[in-house]
Amino acid sequence: MKLPDKSTELHDVIAAIPNGATVLVGGFGVPGTPFTLLNELARQGQRDLVLVKNDANEAGMGIDHLIKNGQVRKLIVTHLGLNANAIAAMNSGDLEVEFCAQGILAERIRAGGAGLGAILTDIGIETELANGKQVVEMNGRAMLVEPALRADVALIHAAIADPFGNLAYAATARNFNPLMAMAAARVIVEAEALVPLGGLAPDAVETTGAFVDHVVEIKELSQEYGIVRR
């Protein structure tokens, strides 16, 4: 028996993303952001996207290209303070932004990836983050109902992948990637290194390829992946 080969070409796999798609995007700051996949999405120009990401990157990087192109209808994030373009688009009303507490965003995605409907949490209760949310009582305590997040597409950055889509991550480039890699109908991975089957020891695999649909090897790391000198 042999595990299937899901390695593919960048253009084709991004071309399968339709207008209006909800897209999970890995990364916390630069580490773990799938810049190669995002740049191809910016080049192809799909519109009306709903993006889910921890942050909005910085001006001129990552999802900022999509925001500047007007490809993003709505952004679900925890924080966008490092991207003045995103703040301006939000303040002018051109970009709808939904803020979510960081760990609750992670758990909503994890719930989506685990086939659950929602999570219950007291995080944000009695703050404006609770506005409009359903409240239930559980074990005598008031809890917010936070719906699971499951998307059409996930764009994932991995340090190492094999052709089946088994993944390993580097340092703080992990962040939302292993969670998002479980929570979309079409999971697309860019990897800095594509190794043959068996090149990742079973114990080293952090995301099983059973969750992954497509693997693209990054030909050359662009400048965006590098050190940001502020």
Binding site: V30, P31, M90, I104, L105, A106, T127, T172, N175, F176
Partner: protein, 217 residues
């Protein structure tokens, strides 16, 4: 940094007890590590998935995949660990985080904290601040006593959107160390050269002054 502010940072560093798991907010709180001995036994946590934060690194020595939650390039130490964002906040919410030191726009006499949004002016999102403020076992604020315009930050009630209700235990400022008690603010220590009258004038709520000598820092 002003002399009073650096003494505040040094004083706040004493909050960190051996063996703790600690999250330091961006800005002034991050600087308390400069006042701990190099071999001090503490586990520093970063929201983006790191326990065991090592020294900050200059750009030419940095690892592009290794930052702290504020985006600074950091290093690991022997025993450091990486994990995903769900695990990172599981640690915060489940009671494993002993202490967080956070900045503030406003703190109320009942321990309410506002530090993430100024409507119409500043609304970048709270990131992980709500979970840290709501779930750390002890929440300590480090802030200038007044804002840049000279308005008090310690108030009867917060005017800005809240980060968490009733969670602040203690406040370190450039003027004083103040505890939040069931009876409101209580002065514990004064910065060198600050009088009780000056402190009262700079505080937007009543504050209990000890009868005995007031220690200084």
């Amino acid at each position: 940094m002003s002399d009073a502010r650096s003494r505040m940072v040094a004083r706040a560093a004493q909050e960190i007890a051996p063996g703790m798991v600690v999250n330091l907010g961006i800005g002034l709180p991050t600087q308390v590590v400069n006042h701990l001995p190099a071999d001090f036994p503490v586990c520093l946590h970063s929201e983006n998935g790191l326990t065991g934060i090592g020294a900050m690194l200059p750009y030419d020595e940095a690892d592009r995949n290794l930052i702290d939650a504020g985006g600074a390039y950091v290093s690991t130490i022997p025993g450091s660990a990486f994990f995903d964002s769900a695990v990172s906040f599981a640690l915060v919410r489940s009671g494993r985080l002993d202490l967080t030191l956070l900045g503030a726009f406003e703190v109320a006499r009942n321990g309410d904290l506002a530090n993430w949004k100024i409507p119409g002016k500043f609304s970048p999102g709270a990131g992980g601040a709500i979970e840290l403020a709501q779930k750390a076992r002890r929440v300590v604020v480090m802030t200038t006593h007044c804002d840049r315009k000279g308005n008090p930050k310690l108030l009867d009630a917060c005017t800005l959107p809240l980060t968490a209700r009733g969670r602040v235990a203690r406040i370190y400022t450039d003027m004083a160390v103040v505890d939040v008690t069931p009876n409101g603010f209580a002065l514990r220590e004064l910065a060198t050269g600050v009088s009780v009258a000056e402190l009262r004038a700079a505080t937007g709520a009543s504050i209990t002054i000890p009868q005995s000598d007031i220690p200084t820092f």
